[in-house]
């Protein structure tokens, strides 16, 4: 009984965004054209509300109502359930790559008409998300790096390689992400020790990566789902090393906290979010205008400066200085997660992973 009520509470919490949206239609009607845009709640949403959406409304006359969406796949589940009922809690949402693939399997995403996205030529190829038959499911919104972070009081010298995680000297000092599909530690292991993420093509290679990864376990103090939990411990030096988001760590350092983010020589993990349009949305026209607007090099540069994300367009077309670019990205070839695995082998990977860290 308690179990179901706890689950319901979780869903309620996550669904709060949806509920508050339902209370808003009277406000929306006041505008001629409007669009509901889902962005990750908290820091992302605040930054978008402040720096991006007002300018967009000024330029296009389309009012934006931003919806705080939970990270992970909770939002995907809600969008899918809502779409089955013909509802769209948000028209356009920022979605993770794994969520994009999962949504594809039920045709959740309305294909994007590239003819209407004039700025699409600026995009880097890996930020265009396609259905297996070539239709466009989503367009890169922002990308970000997960890097090796350390507390500068505890580590005077910045580590240079992901292999620091395996160093016995770091026993009980690491904070790592708790899920196989958001920590991307298999890719890190493969790139650092097995010669690249292609090593994960076979089950044999995956098992080898799991085996190597198991050696990290004694060094891990915290497997976190909740970012706030690790960020606090990193700042205080309670958990002085781990993997974390490059942008947020940079902001924390700028605020005077003793933390630093390092791009290891094997590369930072580059993850990204796509703009995707729910099939239940009636606002296809506005959504295309919005996505096109967001693909402009100047907007991507603004995002880099104000939000700290890495551009999804080619670097040459933006006016970012070397220093600005270095603050959000790196010229070291990134580790690009093997998103395909989290779709084709998700249950197997999840089972192995859970057994690895819990067992």
């Amino acid at each position: 009984m308690i179990t179901t009520s706890i689950k319901r509470r979780t869903l309620l919490g996550a669904g709060l965004a949806g509920a508050s949206m339902l209370a808003m239609p009277s406000v929306l009607r006041a505008q001629d054209k409007s669009l509901k845009v889902g962005v990750y709640g908290g820091y992302f949403k605040t930054s978008f509300d402040k720096n991006i959406f007002p300018e967009f409304t000024k330029a296009t006359g389309i009012a934006v109502e931003s919806i705080a969406e939970p990270t992970g796949e909770a939002w995907l589940v809600q969008l899918e359930q809502a779409a089955r009922a013909g509802q769209a809690p948000a028209d356009v949402s920022m979605m993770s790559q794994v969520a994009m693939l999962k949504g594809q399997s039920t045709d959740l995403w309305t294909p994007i008409d590239m003819a209407k996205i004039k700025n699409s030529s600026n995009l880097l190829d890996r930020f265009v998300n396609k259905y297996p038959d070539g239709r466009i499911a989503g367009i890169g919104a922002v990308s970000w790096y997960i890097t090796l972070v350390t507390n500068t009081d505890v580590y005077k010298e910045a580590p240079t390689s992901w292999s620091a995680f395996w160093d016995p000297a770091n026993a009980d000092k690491l904070g790592l992400l708790a899920l196989v599909s958001n920590s991307f530690l298999l890719e890190v292991t493969a790139k650092t020790f097995l010669g690249g993420t292609n090593a994960l093509d076979t089950e044999e290679g995956l098992l080898k990566a799991f085996e190597k990864l198991a050696e990290v376990k004694p060094n891990v103090r915290l497997w976190y789902r909740d970012e706030a939990q690790f960020e606090q411990s990193l700042k205080s030096g309670e958990i002085p090393m781990g993997q974390y988001y490059h942008d947020v760590t940079g902001l924390a350092a700028a605020d005077g906290n003793p933390v630093r983010s390092t791009f290891p020589k094997e590369g930072g993990i580059q993850d990204s979010g796509c703009w995707a349009l729910s099939r239940a949305s009636q606002k296809s026209e506005e959504a295309h205008i919005f996505i096109d607007y967001m693909c402009q090099p100047s907007i991507q540069a603004t995002l880099s400066r104000k939000v700290g994300t890495s551009p999804t367009v080619k670097r040459e077309v933006t006016d970012l200085t070397d220093k600005e670019f270095a603050a959000v990205s790196s010229d070291i070839e990134p580790i690009v997660p093997r998103y395909d695995l989290y779709q084709s082998k998700s249950d197997w990977l999840n089972q192995k992973w859970t057994e690895l860290i819990v067992g």
């Binding site: 009984m1 179990t3 796949e73």
Partner: protein, 284 residues
């Protein structure tokens, strides 16, 4: 006023509202969950309606058995700790002045207003190396250097007992207030020490209440999924944590539902066993 058994259909009318609420908010969701637990999981997608046992089959493994065992053990430990702490506390509370009682009860009720998240973060700070209670011990010269007490089983247990303690007191309080004071007085007159009177008179007299409280706290603790994550290591994660992972992060609703159904069945089974054992004990 004499109470008459309901005669006509209309007499049952007051029952309609609670019955409807129970159906809409409990029976229907629970039924849906049971139905979903038999659905076919689409890997990398969602699920399709079907009638398969795959989800239950996946659960029946040594790994999940271990997690289930740990969850039950943790909940039982929390229940026992709570009752052992709360029974003497509540007993003493009921013998205090009315004003003192009110202050204590309000304080306990205010703990109930704290969310699990706040409780978790507060304890993880208290147990931390950099800002935790060990720093006080170091300042007092009892310990040589501050150390982290979390993540550990003790930290999880402390957090959960803290959370469940007010419920325990509130359930025990009415029974202890109603307890006839002449019982203990008689025991004292016959020469029993206060401690002996408590264990030989108060505890046996409250046996049913204690059993009921144990069951309530056990079920309450079984659903906990945040505190084990915030205060424990992965081996201290309960089944509820894994259910959340499957439902929220893996979008594997059928498997999450199957695990939840399993957890409910095991819980009901254990509760039934306790009740039966209690009845047998009474008969003997």
């Amino acid at each position: 006023m004499r109470r008459e058994p309901p005669q006509t259909l209309g007499d049952y009318a007051p029952l309609l509202f609670p019955a409807a609420m129970l159906t809409i908010f409990f029976v229907v969701p629970f039924g849906t969950m049971i139905a979903v637990s038999f659905f076919q999981r689409q890997q990398g997608g969602f699920y399709t309606p079907a009638f398969v046992f795959d989800n239950y089959a996946r659960f029946l493994s040594a790994f999940f058995g271990g997690v289930l065992g740990f969850s039950l053990l943790l909940a039982i430990t929390v229940a026992i700790c709570c009752v052992v702490l709360a029974l003497p506390f509540t007993y003493m509370l009921t013998r205090m002045a009315r004003k003192v009682q009110v202050v204590w009860l309000v304080a306990l009720l205010s703990i109930l207003s704290l969310s699990e998240v706040i409780i978790g973060f507060a304890w993880s700070t208290l147990f931390s190396r950099t800002a935790g209670i060990t720093n006080i011990l170091v300042a007092l010269g009892i310990m040589s250097e501050a150390k982290a007490l979390t993540p550990s089983f003790g930290a999880v247990l402390t957090g959960m007992v803290y959370q469940a303690f007010p419920y325990t007191v509130l359930v025990l309080f009415p029974a202890l207030v109603r307890l006839d004071p002449t019982l203990t007085e008689a025991a004292r007159t016959l020469g029993a020490s206060p401690l002996k009177a408590f264990f030989t008179v108060v505890v046996p007299a409250l046996r049913n209440t204690i059993t009921a409280t144990l069951i309530m706290v056990f079920i309450f603790a079984l659903g906990s999924y945040l505190l084990p994550q915030l205060l424990g290591r992965p081996q201290h994660w309960t089944l509820s944590v894994l259910i959340t992972d499957q439902a929220i992060y893996q979008s594997n609703m059928p498997f999450a539902a199957a695990m939840a159904v399993f957890l409910v069945l095991v819980t009901l089974g254990l509760v039934a066993l306790t009740v039966i054992a209690g009845r047998k004990g009474e008969a003997a």
